[in-house]
Symmetry: C2
Subunit: 676 residues, 2 copies
């Protein structure tokens, strides 16, 4: 096919297949590398975005991720935060449901964001707007594009300049790229045609060309990301297998604005009733989603008869569960069904050139709201690595950490989900009737409560690797004791600090929006003491030297803070020191106001107590290396040994720039001290 002169042939650095949550986050990350010449294309076989239904639970970690892209506020302002989980169970006397415990949906204090719900289409819209802006308008989603062939030339895989992956694509006609399985049931929008009740083969049929030939193109890519969903075509081309099992549990989903006297209709209500289980998810506006357990038989092939699932059948079941409360949904906006099942791909990557991500790697039940979160976190982990490799900053070996970091997470997720799904689908029993098939409400609530902590996404820990110095293998060990509450391998927690320049309060992570750079945070200690000022001078000299990490890994044609940024957070009195008393240029870069902060009281938002919250000594201080994805790479000491650790950390991760090509501190014009 490649030799057919009729067929267009093109090169691209990264080809992303699929523009769902995993695909758009990949695209938005890589858009940030456009400035280093990285070229990315995104194709999706569907001609239109789907506007109803769809996964839409956002955990706090996902919103933190949006924050790192500086788009969290837009999304939060449209989303519905879920505040409270209410547990309901049968009342032993009247048999209808009654409320048990109430707990907060997000553990207070764990993040500045809470579990929230917003339609996937809106979330993707904000991410794509950001992609457009960050790529200077050069990136867009190519819709109605079907991938047809995929080949990896293994011989080329070791060559940084080669394009070892060949993908044949075809532009579909408008007609072809519209789903064929039908998305309507009468007047009601149905999501059944793309649920997991559909088999892979059926999904392929959906896009079977009606016309013999369309516009074909061969794309030669350095890297390919298959973010093409649970029925992933890329995964099947690579021959990766989904492993795990489905279950007999079948659930239905209904979206609409209910009229009800059920008092917790705006809470996440987990209902066990004698008629079955249900979960209520309050959505934006007055919209509510009901997850309804169904009494449906699964056939031998493991799939239910989809035609049995109708809006009326779902509402009849919901009404039975709600007794003694009433519920009507005058206009059902969307409905679907799914089978609970937990499966994981056998491999994540081929030759570290083709990667799969998101639902293509792992499937689980939607009720814990993890689908979108887990998918986005996959490519959020992968794509800054690909970006740095393509920009020439990092060796390809860094890409190995994608699977080593994301697979253990997926295994953990699937285990938690299976446990939760089983509990959720079990029949409630009165305290007198507990048996091995039944579920004790207390168990259920406890496990759900523990599960919530995992599902919030803020405690995810990546294992020791070149990117994460939390191992005990002797290569490089963090001095975790210097900052006990900044766990290496977990996301950098954020606390409030104050700008040295204007006294404005900031969340520390808001000073380091994700743009590809690593950040070295110098917790410089108490500047009121001369000895600590002297220590910072010594560190600054090393960072500003030609062999310091900033110079060593930053080529001349990059901004000096483009690869490794240095922030300083001291804890003296803000007004006890003038900015020009800090060393230039790295610690106090004239004309730049986002490098120097203090852990001091603010005028309008109290004291962030960052040192205390991070558990950092005000005398010893600490050095923290934060990765581009805001995960903690290293915690070490504010001295020569610590600086050696920082050298060692980056030497395993980045490519040394030849001495004469370095972006040197010597080239930066510093400002003379005022003659005060």
């Amino acid at each position: 096919m490649a030799s057919d002169p009729q067929i267009k042939n093109s090169n691209v650095d990264v080809l992303i297949i699929g523009a769902g949550p995993a695909g758009v986050i990949a695209a938005d990350w890589l858009a940030r590398f456009t400035k280093y010449g990285v070229k990315t294309r995104v194709v999706d076989k569907r001609s239109h975005k789907v506007f109803t239904g769809q996964a839409d639970g956002l955990n706090p970690r996902s919103i933190e991720m949006f924050q790192s892209f500086n788009i969290a506020n837009k999304i939060v302002s449209e989303a519905n935060p879920m505040n409270e989980v209410c547990f309901w169970a049968p009342n032993e006397s009247h048999g209808g449901i009654e409320r048990g415990r109430r707990i907060p949906d997000t553990i207070p204090g764990i993040s500045r964001y809470v579990q929230s719900v917003l339609h996937q289409g809106r979330i993707e819209r904000h991410i794509l707007d950001d992609m457009n802006e960050k790529s200077n308008g050069t990136m867009k989603i190519e819709r109605g594009v079907l991938p047809e062939t995929l080949e990896v030339n293994e011989e080329l895989c070791q060559d940084d300049n080669a394009y070892p992956v060949k993908v044949g694509i075809r532009q579909l006609s408008e007609e072809e790229s519209r789903p064929k399985l039908g998305s309507k049931n009468g007047e009601v929008e149905s999501g059944l045609y793309k649920s997991n009740l559909v088999k892979d083969e059926d999904d392929d049929v959906e896009f079977k060309p009606d016309v013999p030939v369309g516009d074909r193109e061969i794309i030669n890519a350095k890297y390919v990301i298959g973010a093409d969903g649970a029925h992933s075509w890329v995964r099947r081309q690579l021959g990766f297998k989904m492993q795990g099992e489905g279950s007999d549990f079948v659930w239905g989903v209904v979206d609409g604005v209910p009229i009800t006297n059920f008092p917790d209709i705006r809470c996440r209500a987990a209902i066990h009733s004698n008629a079955g289980s249900m979960m209520i998810i309050p959505r934006e506006g007055s919209l509510v989603r009901l997850y309804i357990q169904l009494n449906l038989q699964v056939d031998e092939g493991g799939h239910v008869d989809r035609s049995l699932i109708t809006p009326k059948m779902l509402m009849d079941q919901a009404k039975a569960v709600f007794h003694p409360y009433s519920i009507e949904i005058p206009d059902i906006m969307w409905y679907t069904g799914y089978q609970v099942g937990q499966r994981l791909t056998s491999e994540y990557a081929k030759n570290d050139r083709v990667f799969i991500a998101g639902d293509a790697c792992h499937t689980h039940s939607p009720k814990a709201g993890q689908g979108m979160n887990a998918s986005m976190a996959d490519t959020y982990n992968l794509c800054w690595k690909i970006g740095h490799v393509l920009a020439g900053h990092a060796p390809r070996s860094i890409l190995k950490t994608y699977e080593s970091e994301r697979r253990p997470f997926a295994e953990h997720l699937i285990m938690n989900d299976a446990q939760l799904a089983k509990l959720f689908s079990g029949k409630p029993l009165s305290s007198a009737e507990l048996n091995e098939l039944g579920v004790d409400m207390k168990d259920f609530e406890n496990i759900l409560e523990r599960g919530i902590s995992f599902f919030l996404g803020t405690s995810i820990e990546y294992f020791n690797s070149t990117a994460t110095a939390n191992g005990r293998d002797g290569r490089l060990s963090s001095k975790q004791e210097l900052a006990k509450n900044i766990p290496v391998g977990q996301r950098f927690p954020s606390h409030q600090v104050v700008s040295q320049f204007d006294g404005r309060h900031y969340h520390l992570v808001d000073t380091m929006f994700a743009d590809g750079q690593f950040t070295i945070v110098l917790f410089a200690g108490n500047m009121d003491k001369q000895v600590n000022r002297q220590r910072l001078q010594t560190i600054a000299q090393r960072l500003d030297s030609d062999d310091g990490v900033v110079s060593k890994y930053t080529p001349k044609d990059r901004q000096r803070d483009g690869v490794i940024d240095v922030k300083t957070v001291h804890c003296g009195g803000r007004t006890n020191i003038e900015v020009h008393e800090f060393p230039q240029p790295t610690i106090y870069p004239p004309g730049t106001y986002n490098k120097l902060y203090v852990d001091d009281v603010s005028y309008h938002a109290g004291h962030g107590e960052a040192y205390k919250n991070y558990d950092i000594s005000k005398e010893d201080g600490a050095v923290v290396v934060v990765r581009p994805d805001h995960f903690v790479g290293l915690v070490t000491s504010l001295d020569g040994a610590g600086m050696d650790d920082v050298d060692k950390y980056f030497s395993g991760l980045l490519k040394t720039v030849p001495a004469e090509q370095r972006n040197s501190a010597k080239d930066i014009k510093v400002i003379p001290q005022p003659k005060v």
Copy 2:
């Protein structure tokens, strides 16, 4: 001219002349009345928005106003908050400047917003986007449109259906609508051509037609708003005089990114030096604005020779002031000059049919950052009144309150500004040299500090009128003692409450975005007590009766909460009462979740202590009527006498709907109580 068959003739409810800050707020308010059939047009003589320079200080009250339009977050996220004011004065030994006190720029606790700076063009953009959305895309700014004639037919002024104001307009060519006085000085953008150093006549010359005839139109309007700036053409047509005086003080303004070792370059620094005065305003990004006192003579006609003001001259002066610190602005983005002067129009309105607003009414120095704030607050006050008159809800008499509320404010503003300007332009003296020409630094700081409180905009109080029951005239007196911290006539202060439905925390004003409606807030007291539940039942019955204020002033074709909305904030335990225990439909309207709140602890944001902060007794409660512009109209008691006061308040303000046309509570379907 009206009889010329060539000339287009059209009718419109409101014609807004001028699309600066006052004009766009007027437009955004009236856009909210599009749903009641109100038609508004906005014309501006300039063909383009100006993108550099311009006033840009936002006080907390203006941001609260944006919050009421639900656009504050967008603006705040782009703006630079000013955190700190630093005072600098000559050091007696070296003669250069040294820092004195530091104070917060916004008094902590006074508002949830702080003084901020953002370019006027961005602010207007967000307001116009909102106008577009709220008018369903029907409103846009007509640019390059010059008003040429204005006539008021006084005989028609008493007729609600008449169009008594005739405005002749002409569409300018692209060429004509570009300013002629030149906006460049070499490569540097200059704002001199539109500063107050330009005389009215020169401003007219600017738009003198080059071609004899353009496209003319006669617009017959019910109301006209002249928001056309300091040189207001509308004001001059009406023959209103600007009264007050200019001063000898001439100041220059420079915008750019400075390279400096001056430590407070990101603070609002008020500098008195031996070389003259200066004020630093830190702007968005790394941009800074310098206000520089100039040593220029004012000629007899009261105007300086503008050609003397050049970028070099301004920077030379700035450098002299800054000594011993250095400053360079490699690229000056914009500069201008102005003369300090405080003037006020003789009248605000003609026949309550033509109004002037903003700079057309009052001019003062820009340094206190009041220009945009005062202008926007004018039309924010005026246009909900015009909207309700045109929608048929209110009699025209309500329009009288525009001048009665806004003139005293303007007088107060001008007095404060004159005092501040004089202080600011005075020469600093060493403590040994104080005399009547000089300024004591302590005086200066104290007056500035007091001035700040006024300039924040949150303490503005409107006097007693039909819209504001804070008089002692016996017609209707508020029971201010029931809610001491909700001063009648001032803006409704906001505290955190919690939704009864989902436990989510809200600022109370975030539950009542400005859409034209009045809001009755029932502080219903402690629901844990049966007697308080019973009291609320009684109030609800009265509010739901056919003679209650909601029915009485709301026609059938309006939403029941479209004219008067009722919110309830109780202070029992949230989990001690179920939502369906509140009376339907006004207090607990099924399917609506934004009416019922509680002053209780939240999961993630502590306890708002609203009752305590408002100083409302948890037993007695209170009733507060909030106007559409979030000013407090009435505070009264939660009983029959209080409800009588509420009746009386609205009877002076709104038009009674005939009984058979009322939107009655009886027509609302309520939900049966659950059989628990």
